[in-house]
Symmetry: C2
Subunit: 306 residues, 2 copies
């Protein structure tokens, strides 16, 4: 079983409007809702790839109920809280296709709820082949939370992937996660360097065993104990891939769980992100496009001397 942790789950709501005009009233022509938060997205992709996926984190209130009712294909091990799970609203302008996002901050998690989560997490780790820690932290959860979760995973002997940014990433990287998967901005913020090769190596020195940075259309850059690689999609992505990060994390996690080589794992992540059904907010990929792309990802790099 692969475990994904989403402390700040969400109900992702998408509104289609004819044209967004600030300071006026709009009739929404189409409403779609799906469970969201990075780890839930990742678990959904893992399930589509044939993995057994379990999701944990927090869910509460009316929005939390909807999130749980709509979780299909994955095992629900979310921990109940008294606060209400946040919504994110994506307003799509039908005229331009542009999206405007409104993200609620998330519920306040109490110390007792955080303790209940830690107990559930340790129990789930005992059955996990790999774990991914994903996304932002809700109010009330200590900023060093991911560092503690990384240590617990390492103590349980479960490979741990960290997919977050900012201060939570900075704190957790020192706890020596097996893999971090930042995007270019998150990596630059962590290391102070905008040069991907140098930055991935720097992130390893800070504690991450392996680093895979996603650079949009330029693909992935990986720095690992086994070597370093770059993996590039065969065709330019068809549009704005903001939000496609969940596919890359799912691909990496899937390769980790299947004990693939790094070049195979990177190919899987790149092919998945390139096979995303646009907009990525739909959380779906095209299986035929994925299979086709898988053999055509260009991976170049170097294996370290043993």
């Amino acid at each position: 079983m692969i475990l994904t942790v989403t402390l700040n789950t969400a109900l992702d709501v998408t509104y289609r409007v004819p044209a967004l005009r600030p300071h006026s009233a709009h009739r929404v022509t189409q409403v779609t809702e799906r469970p969201g938060g990075r780890g839930l997205d990742v678990a959904r992709v893992l399930a589509a790839l044939g993995h057994e996926a379990t999701v944990t984190g927090f869910a509460g209130g009316a929005t939390g109920r909807v999130v749980r009712e709509r979780l299909t294909g994955v095992t629900d091990a979310l921990v109940p809280i008294s606060g209400s799970t946040r919504r994110t609203i994506a307003v799509v302008d039908a005229r331009t296709g542009d999206t405007t996002r409104l993200d609620e901050p998330g519920p306040l998690v109490t110390p007792a709820e955080w303790s209940a989560f830690l107990q559930a997490y340790e129990e789930l780790l005992a059955r996990a082949d790999a774990v991914a820690l994903c996304g932002s932290l809700p109010p009330g959860v200590p900023v060093g939370a991911y560092a503690g979760l990384v240590r617990l995973a390492r103590a349980a002997g479960v490979p741990v992937l960290l997919d977050t940014g900012g201060e939570p990433l900075r704190r957790a990287v020192a706890a020596r996660p097996d893999l971090i998967a930042p995007n270019g901005d998150e990596l630059a913020e962590l290391t102070g360097s905008h040069e991907p090769l140098r930055a991935t190596q720097d992130a390893r020195r800070r504690g991450a065993r392996s680093v895979v940075a996603s650079l949009g259309a330029q693909g992935l850059v990986a720095a690992t104990p086994e070597g370093h690689w770059r993996a590039v999609p065969p065709t330019r992505p068809r549009g704005d891939l903001t939000g496609a990060g969940g596919f890359i994390t799912a691909g990496l996690l899937s390769g980790l769980a299947d004990r693939l080589s790094w070049p195979e794992t990177l190919s899987r992540a790149v092919a998945l992100s390139a096979a995303t059904v646009l907009p990525p907010a739909t959380g779906e990929f095209d299986p035929a496009a994925y299979e086709d792309l898988l053999g055509r990802v260009a991976v170049t790099g170097e294996v370290n001397a043993a």
Copy 2:
């Protein structure tokens, strides 16, 4: 008991953002939620004025559950439906104070649900002193719905106030409601005239027994079988009163139920709308300001010869 009908109830969600910029991502800094839809707003004001208020209409899905949980001070006689009650999102730009609205269309009401509502409505009318039919119609409800509800109220001998616009108003006015309360735009759309005195008289010829049109800062214009009046607030309203219509309707309904004279009823409606706590979306009025304003509304007009 005063009955208000809200066929398209809503959960009104207000988001405060530092500054709204289309096609970018926003962290919402404050989220507030309250039951909405015009008839629910009216009932809340009636309850604050000391009336016994009952709300009916439709509620369904996760959003409907939240609406029902948060209905306080009024009797809940909403009819359950399989579809989900709509949300409305008001995005307040903290920098400018401007509001951008996103209104979901509302659930599809089935013919069986509409029949169940009609039965509940007739039973409620038997105990009602007055009824208000408020707001838009959700998908699936026939556009002539309000005409039928007006006829049922008249058959039951219950005074009926109609507070809607567009085609639903046009259809229902011919069924001879006791009172319609359009705003200036709705009245102009109904009659083709932008001259309030002429337009209110024309609306009476179309079937409404009495017409009270709200003209924003210019107050109210009333055309009734007993005479015609204009009621003007003593001070300029403190801001944008879009959304204050619920207060005017509540004032009129309250006067109708208490069998006040027209000048007294109009004073009550004007004082309430002028005592609105801004923004009106909060659905609250300042009782002290209301009492103070009540004696200072200027009502001018003429009683018809008996």
